[in-house]
Amino acid sequence: MTTPKTRRVVRLLAPLAVLGLVTAACGSDDDGSNDTEPASTEAADSTEPATSDMTDGEMADGPTIQVRGQDFSESITIAEVYGQYLEAEGYPVEILTAAGFRPDNLNGVENGDFNLIIDYIGGVQAALAPDAPASADADEIVATITEPIEAIGATLLDYSPAIDGDAFIVRGDSEASTISDVAGLDYVLGASAQCAERPQCLIGLEDPDIYGITFADFVTLEYGPLLGEALANNEVDAIVWNDTAPQIAEQGFKVLDDDKGIFPAQNIAPIISTEVLEAYGDQLAADLNELSAMITTDDLLAWNTETDIEFRESDEVATEWLEAKGLL
């Protein structure tokens, strides 16, 4: 006998049952994909060799890879590129909304809030091994940061040839051509709060043993387009920004030669929670290294032009690049 009450219960439970069936179906699809794998066969047919595809089905079982960028457009696009790439490779991925800067991201990985970040190796050195000597040689920097990164429970993977170096930038009409030339010019310097406490930045610029520049003033500005605007509008005479900023070409700025070599190598490199890395075995590291090797400095500049000058969304820019490279 179905009383009205039981009928109501059945009606309530029906969607759950359907949901269960769907989930079960999805589950069996996943299991079956090891045998049939129509999607990855297709990928293997396409231009990319895609060595990792054979094991896609197994890898989907690991922990979700949560990637987060820092809160400026280049980092957001990089996080989208890595996140979408891993997703296409069959990993469970969550691309988090970008927030904060390096310290927040390193803390987040250490605390397990997320598990993958892509950072600039020179910046990581300034944060985790501030006493180590800065170097323009990427391998020397990697040697100094490998252990501190392990200490926060993470692993540094291969760095990319793509470099977003710090740059000392002046307006095009400046008479200086090297940073040393700035010493007598009584410039106002604009840079982020981080710069003030770094030997690779303000401390090195003012150090009498290195550049020995005396600035007329130091203006703290949020890292980002505000720096370019301040320079363009004569609020400051020089800024420390990144050399992949598209505003440099657009506004006719000049990057001064770092003749005493205080700016470290700033190749991008993934830093991933060791726990997550080990859960997937060597395949994940191989996949990430493969992607890192494909990104170039010109790509970074192209992405920044899209996002900062043409105001396009980072995720679209990332998708287009991955498609152009045959990675999606």
Binding site: A127, A196, E206, F218
Partner: protein
């Protein structure tokens, strides 16, 4: 010599990352000099006071007059309130490029205008409502006694409404003080710099120091208005408020 000049470098806070809060806060060097808390405090107080004064000068007479004439009750209230729907930070950030292009610099206009729009809302609304809601009989009685319209507004309505008007100004001033630190993120300084530099340098001592200072100043602003209310409110209004069980002093 160069070292000394570097020490006199303005507009930047760099302290050891592992310094304790009390060690930092009670170090005299933290408070003095062009970089010190006192200089930042003056920056903040001057801007906040200027914003609040201009907001009062603009909103109180306008609202009082419109309320007395019973004009624009819905439209003006709506217009004022809607400006509150846009975040103050967004207004200030949008105004920065505009100000830079005109050669006016980062400060003070973008942050001034944004804070002004923030302050106008409670002052205008409180003034309008307070005067609009004075009992009809009181106003008619004043009119019967031969008061001119101007005297009715200033000596009767305004006097009776003064407690609520001051409360609106107090709310505005506290909001302005608590919001002013966003200027540090838009090329300015003031007390917000400690929060900004603390975030940038991963130094919690500075962040906490900034919060304590901003919170302290906001609390002090509230207390100042309590004292001000004691000083400027007409005795009769204060007595009336007490009788009605109001907490106003």
């Amino acid at each position: 010599m160069i070292g000394a000049m570097a020490a006199a470098r303005p507009s930047q806070t760099a302290v050891p990352r592992d310094i304790g809060f009390f060690e930092w806060f009670f170090d005299p060097d933290t408070w003095t000099g062009p970089d010190g808390i006192l200089a930042s405090l003056v920056d903040t107080v001057v801007l906040c006071a200027a914003v609040t004064l201009v907001a009062v000068a603009v909103s109180v007479p306008t609202a009082a007059l419109l309320a007395h004439l019973r004009r624009a009750e819905v439209s003006s209230t709506w217009l004022v309130s809607i400006s509150r729907a846009v975040p103050t930070f967004a207004i200030a950030a949008l105004l920065v490029p505009w100000s830079l292009e005109r050669g006016w610099g980062f400060e003070p206009w973008p942050i001034f205008i944004a804070l002004f729009l923030l302050a106008v809302v409670p002052i205008y609304l409180n003034t309008y409502t307070a005067i609009r809601q004075q009992p009809e009989g009181t106003v008619e009685a004043a009119r019967a006694l031969g008061y001119s319209e101007r005297s009715i507004l200033t000596k009767v309505e305004f006097a009776l409404a003064s407690s609520l008007i001051l409360a609106g100004i107090r709310v505005a001033a506290i909001q302005v003080v608590a919001t002013e630190p966003i200027r540090a993120f838009l090329g300015g300084d003031g007390l917000g710099r400690y929060v900004r530099d603390g975030f940038g340098q991963n130094n919690n001592t500075l962040v906490i120091g900034g919060i304590v200072l901003i919170g302290g100043l906001a609390a002090l602003t509230g207390l100042t208005f309590v004292a001000l209310e004691r000083l400027v409110l007409p005795n009769g209004v204060r007595r009336l408020a007490r009788q009605q069980g109001d907490k106003t002093p």
